[in-house]
Symmetry: C2
Subunit: 201 residues, 2 copies
Amino acid sequence: MGQRTELEGCVLGVVWDRGPCTAYTIRRVFQNSPSPHWTGSAGAIYPLLARLRRQGLIRAKPHHAGHRPAKLYQLTPSGRRALRRWLGPPLPEWAVGVPVDPLRTRLRFLLAAVPAARLAFLKEADRKLHEHIRTVRADRRRRRHAGDAFAYLVAEGALKMLNARLSWLREVADEVKRQDRTRAARERLRRSGSSASARSR
Amino acid sequence: MGQRTELEGCVLGVVWDRGPCTAYTIRRVFQNSPSPHWTGSAGAIYPLLARLRRQGLIRAKPHHAGHRPAKLYQLTPSGRRALRRWLGPPLPEWAVGVPVDPLRTRLRFLLAAVPAARLAFLKEADRKLHEHIRTVRADRRRRRHAGDAFAYLVAEGALKMLNARLSWLREVADEVKRQDRTRAARERLRRSGSSASARSR
DNA sequence: ATGGCCATGTAAGATGTTACATGATTTA
DNA sequence: TAAATCATGTAACATCTTACATGGCCAT
């Protein structure tokens, strides 16, 4: 009835996508995702599945053919409707808003750091971002060959975001360096001015 | 001592940026932010400020010149160090990871919706995103004239993200339409084939 | 004087995290 | 046989949200 959380929606989506699957499978999807927003921790997933089950959105079949005891979860018709409602339209306003970006957040306050730390920050961000882009590119390649068009488009979207972020980061780095040079020049001028006035005395 | 949360780091940053300021000022910064990740709710901010105060990172001066009683918060030297530590380097791994995007998340499962709903989703996302871009562009203009270079760069970054997202979304829409056409063509073929076989019978 | 904004806070509740606990099965 | 992985769960804890409570100030 009430609004689904993002994690609930995602779990419904994963159960829809992976057909009948165990809780552990669901956890791994989150653990292996290149986006580190959810950990897929047991403490999040198991209570959530219990919740969805109580609400009649998923049901569990016991499963032990040659395996240890496990439960296979799948969507009920009501669960499929809930997934569609969560997907929208209508989209919640915040879904379209500027995505959170810890790098951008930190950059807002970068002037609080000393110039050397500012440059170190930008250099490390550039390096790690570049590295991360490589893994996401590999992920995209895997998904292209896997044949799921939507999974590929999603990876493509993630990659585009990262590339935009990197190019922005480089512009920022240039701007910061330019500012630091200006500051340094002003500093030199001030010092030479004061030494000149000292000489003239 | 322990790891700061993002909200704690941000609040330290805001207190650093806005000089001595009240809790209400801090709340408004979050409420007016174009990124809707934090609400700046009283229940988040006041306990957080109390926490930072207990840890000696901020201190409060009573303030009532012509005003109602209020507290003005400012960073202590220890708080400034905490802010710098939070900024990094080192950056936490997840800070560089793919930013969460509710649109991308939903798109992953868009095949669970019927074709008409898929198109409606994409159309609404496009419209709202376009609309949102306008407000962020206005925000950027304000910040450019305000003279804070970093605030401007941050708005610029947000805008670049949104533009990349919109262009990705349009590619996705094209691809989805293409697929639906293919599916429809297959369907026509199948039907005409069966009617042909019906005729031939 | 009424409603709206400034300003500070608390209480209840949901959701998520880490850490723990258990035990079977596979792999080195 | 030891370690890693599969698999399920619980407990303690932190953090954030919504909703409520309070009261001063200001404009209509």
